[in-house]
Symmetry: D2
Subunit: 348 residues, 4 copies
């Protein structure tokens, strides 16, 4: 079979590799019908994720069809259309039981193994461990192009932003950074009845897109960001401030936007320490949350897509085929400049 | 001033009464600009509420303008446009502090005193006790015709149905009884991301209206009600089953519609005991909730109306003036037959 | 091997049966080191549980040692000391994922299968399906005689009483019925900081025992029960009223003991419908919960036993060996008269 | 009357001042029967709190007797024994209604006004605004020496540590800093069923005291602190890590002690920014909380003291009279060296 293989920092190739196959009784093999690229894949290619070895097949998001089933698998059969999420879940450790497979102890404390510690989904086929507790059946009326974004970006915006932030009816919400994941937060604030959703970014395409995704207001990032958001929120700030970028400055901005008693939900992947003005914040009764996605919200998100409440397909702006993998990476690498959010990659 | 006075079972009159005036330092007087009629007012006229004495001015819902302010009142001034809710809140007893003024201990264990234990709002003016903690300022862009339904029927549908029922994103919800309060539940399920909302009633106008209020499915009440709802919900039933009628049979039906682990939220005002099939229910891990509205959700509902997310004005189907009070009662008494939900009553 | 076999209503025998063996890759076989008898076993013998076929080995509670392991089992090995809970959990269906395996869909909608739909634990050995997600390792410093009560009675009192009732610091709690399960509630109210725990029963031994289990007050069941409880709770009633008997009258009593805004947590297994005074209750903002245990609290209860906070061994009042099985049943059948709570049954 | 007056940084005097008197209809005057000193009072004397003007009477904790009542006050009468908490609550603004009077909007966004923006409680008498919603009646069987610590230090340890940290049954908890407030956390972890409570400090008296307050383990602060705590918690860290000091290093330590999915509850009052290792923390699914106390837990804490579950009197190690005010400050200033926790100051 063919797959996108990582050959060390800066180097990757769509090339022949040994076929994926069942290795454990709880495995299945999935034929990849649709996959996509995540910002994390770009970090790997930059050499920023030392736990990824050269020779690894990348990718941790897919919709596909089951082609082989291990003897202990009871929930899926050959031919089933399934969603492969970014997080694998053993389903039996304490973290999986409490709904936090991002820290699955069976997998070594990290639920993200596909395209990381084992081969991933940017390939013709992929082996999926712990299939019974990791895969999701895709409802008939949900398309591959909708489901693919439920593998990672939408649940990340929803779980790490909207859920961790505790959005509730009537709340005002700010989203700092309107890339794919931030827009995933914007798109799902409505599930919890937010009354005002303010998107903040320096890119005009993204701000316009944010309005299409359900933002009620937009603020161009700049020296007046905080003042403009406070002006939109009675001078006290938002109830929930979501950070979806990953830099010290953006987290510091998010912290300034929140009202006393509110929550700052950090989604961004940080590479350096962040100095927090605790001398001002300690008295504000605010909460700061952060984390890797668990993807446990997928069943709910699938229901909302199936019932027509969540237009997940809006996340996909560009479509490629497997043999255009390099082009797909190039477009996604410069997403803002290309007016791109997420790319869709199909076999042909 | 003029007011609608209750003269014992079956008897009422719009007549001259002494002017409303501040009696306690925490009182205000409100000029009534819009009021409405509640099903409870009909119960009083039937003689079903013995705690209402003859001579009482009826009504516990209003939008009005403050005309007199007691010396201890700090939050409201003469001229302020305010919403007068069904529930008065002392703000200092343990029940008020925990957000349950329906059982305000300062008021004798019952927060509903307007048009019940003291004179009410179907009048030109009304005295409102504990104004600072009971009244709500109406935002400029919310009309009287929208705000009036936030005094009782919408918060009842929302708090006693949607909130008590614990509706969450992705949930399926059944609403047994699509009168004004049941439709209040339907209208507010979207604040918590319900994926499917099934309205059940025997009246076709109400079922059609339910669709306009956001129901995704309707079921005509009858021998197949339970089977039809189960067919719409994978055979297991709904996550939240809301009862908005108040008869043994409708509560028993609501109980049959709920899936294991779900919640039956009783809104209905019951007049007789109800036999529950506990021999079947005990093992189902279901929860049954019930209660009087607290009206503490009004600030959130006002925000959602002001931000355009909640079309509260849809509740008002007929408009009358003070001197048409009898006609207003007649139309409301036969609401279903008149294709009426709630009536709006203005001074002129 | 030997086991206690049900031969239809009123008939049982400790007799030779085929050896337990692994049948599915997710099974283990456990040698039973300690088992006990549940009230449900008595119901089965009465013929009250028609889903139990003649020929079934009874029992759904055990502590034992793993003797055989299916090929897909990864969490347990031969020789591990394990707790076998009343509820089997597939770990992959929607109900198991949300922590409600009592309604496991893989098992047909009922998580209680041991000694019910498949052979149980009153035997020398037992086959345990879905071992990885159903069994619990027993910490070294927890004895068999402590752990055995975490298989069913303690988690039932805790989950269906204390957790479902929502006991919180400062709460007053009434427990109607101080048998083994009701005492399990009493014993675990302290985990949530109850300030007052009132045990109610007609049996003096049980009331005395309740004090040893942590009750602060006792009330002898009788015509003055409600008045006495109200007198102990400022006249308003308790925050949480736990029913642990299963008769209409005891549930009606529990309902009368709860204050406005409180919760009635029904643990009792009911055989007939119960008439609830909804004409009085609807306005009280009370909640009624009910359900089968999930046993998902076992890890927490094991921690609390291991750390010395929960003297679970107090539940065991009488000890028998396998060949005294009939005697054990006789004592347990007349538990109150025998000053018995739960029996402990060891191989020899 | 006499009172302790702040005369600018480093200067204070117990001296004659004008009598306290009712100024607003919602005020009462309280004769101070017991007061104490808070770490914040020391900060004021250091000149670290610029919002305190010279001439201000210090103190925000007291138990006393009502001597004068404003005309709008309904809950208290002359002669009532009351607890005066650190936080004043208007009871009518959105923050007070949601239980967060620390940010009372009526009072300018800060609920701490006594001994800060208006005269305080280190005096013979004190005027208390918004008495109905701010004061608490002290139960007969709770002594002044118990109640005084419920004015600030115990609720701070409980609300900002235990409640914000979300301690639940079975949890492991670390408390960094075993001064009065940290010990307040230790003392109240039991209300939520913690299984292991690890106190960390560099002072041996405090560590010994922590054991008396309910800690199960102690760790001397030093280079091995993190390693020792991890060794006590299966290598993953605690569920809840409470910071009760207020320095960058102690917060950084607290952050290192928490397991994935856990909560860091910051109680400390910080004077400078804190650098957080977000490059390591972002993926840990941890939550960081912080805030000023609301004192809304006082009714529950009073119940727990009254029922004998919470030995609040253990907080008081030294007793003084009003004319020993200077000595009381000196002892408290060097609390650790003096084996002091909190001082009790009585009129004579």
């Amino acid at each position: 079979m063919k797959a996108l293989v990582y050959h060390g920092p800066g180097s990757k190739a769509w090339e022949d590799v040994p076929d994926a196959a069942v290795q454990e009784p709880t495995d299945v093999v999935v034929r990849i019908d649709t996959t996509t690229i995540c910002g994390t894949d770009l970090h790997i290619l930059h050499g920023d994720v030392p736990t990824v070895d050269a020779g690894r097949i990348l990718g941790h998001e897919a919709v596909g069809t089951v082609t082989e089933v291990g003897p202990a698998v009871t929930s899926f059969a050959v031919g089933d259309r399934v969603l492969v999420p970014a997080i694998t879940r053993c389903g039996r450790c304490a973290y999986c039981v409490k709904g936090m497979p991002s820290h699955c102890q069976t997998l070594g404390g990290i639920g993200w193994i596909l395209g990381h510690l084992i081969d991933g989904t940017q390939a013709e086929f992929a082996r999926i461990p712990f299939a019974d507790t990791s895969l999701y059946a895709v409802p008939e009326n949900v398309s591959n192009e909708q489901a693919i974004f439920l593998a990672d970006s939408l649940p990340t915006g929803y779980e790490v932003g909207v859920l961790a932030g505790g959005v509730r009816p009537g709340h005002t919400v700010a989203v700092v950074g309107a890339g794919a994941v931030g827009l995933g937060s914007v798109l799902t604030t409505g599930l919890w009845g937010a009354s005002k959703v303010i998107a903040i970014d320096s890119n005009k395409f993204r701000l316009e897109t944010a309005i299409e995704f359900g933002a009620t207001d937009t603020v161009e990032a700049g020296p007046n960001t905080v003042a403009e958001v406070l002006a939109l929120t009675d001078g006290l700030g938002v109830d929930v401030s979501i950070e979806a970028v990953g830099y010290p400055q953006t987290l510091q901005t998010a912290a300034k936007l929140v009202r006393p008693g509110g929550t700052i939900a950090n989604i961004g992947v940080h590479g350096v320490p962040v100095e927090l003005p605790m001398q001002e914040m300690w008295i504000q009764n605010v909460t700061l949350t952060m984390g890797l996605v668990d993807t446990v919200s997928i069943p709910i998100l699938l229901k909302m897509v199936a019932s027509g409440h969540l237009p997940a397909e809006k996340m996909g702006t560009h479509t490629f085929t497997f043999d255009q993998m390099d082009e797909a990476y190039d477009v996604f690498k410069n997403a803002a400049a290309n007016s791109a959010l997420k790319v869709i990659i199909n076999p042909s």
